[in-house]
Symmetry: C2
Subunit: 106 residues, 2 copies
């Protein structure tokens, strides 16, 4: 399993709405993530909008590609896009920054 | 299981050394973490020094307290302390910022 950590930055004035939207993610989106190999996937939010994602997957490049082919993901990303800073025209699932794992204890 | 995510900030000029130190964490420190209930524990580092910690534990307050009583942890934290910004005199294991989990998919 690859352990993946990435960060994004939510716009300060959209934080509450972003949190709310993630209490009711579309069922079809959840199914697509699961089927694409996104396991033990959490999002954590700092009050200033720093968003940390963590997930486990057999092959992250494959898991990303698998989501990229799903229509439901295209719709979700299009809606999420406006919540973030610094994407430079990319979708959130293309514009996030992956962090290097420097330590692990099972 | 509680899923815990926290952040800290490594001083830019100490990043390489911090990474190196985490390739050879003392065995006694690893044992103490395990015995204190720190499971699936990873550290991720962004090039600017943002450090993200992720772990799973039955009860985080208990896991922290358990580590706080260990002599080996006192020694490790004393050595790690100088690597971080913004601790205001606290040890890293007291000064980190825990993030709110806003989404989870198993």
């Amino acid at each position: 399993m690859e352990r993946v950590c990435f960060v994004l930055k939510v716009k300060p004035d959209r934080i509450e709405e972003y949190r709310r939207r993630h209490q009711c993610v579309w069922q079809e989106m959840l199914d697509a993530l699961r089927e694409s190999g996104w396991h033990n996937y959490s999002l954590f939010l700092r009050p200033d909008g720093l968003l940390v994602g963590y997930l486990e997957t057999p092959d992250f490049e494959r898991a990303r590609q698998a989501m990229a082919t799903r229509e439901i993901n295209r719709r979700w990303q299009a809606e999420m896009r406006e919540f973030f800073e610094g994407l430079d025209g990319r979708n959130p699932d293309e514009g996030f920054e992956r962090l290097e794992e420097i330590f692990h204890l099972d």
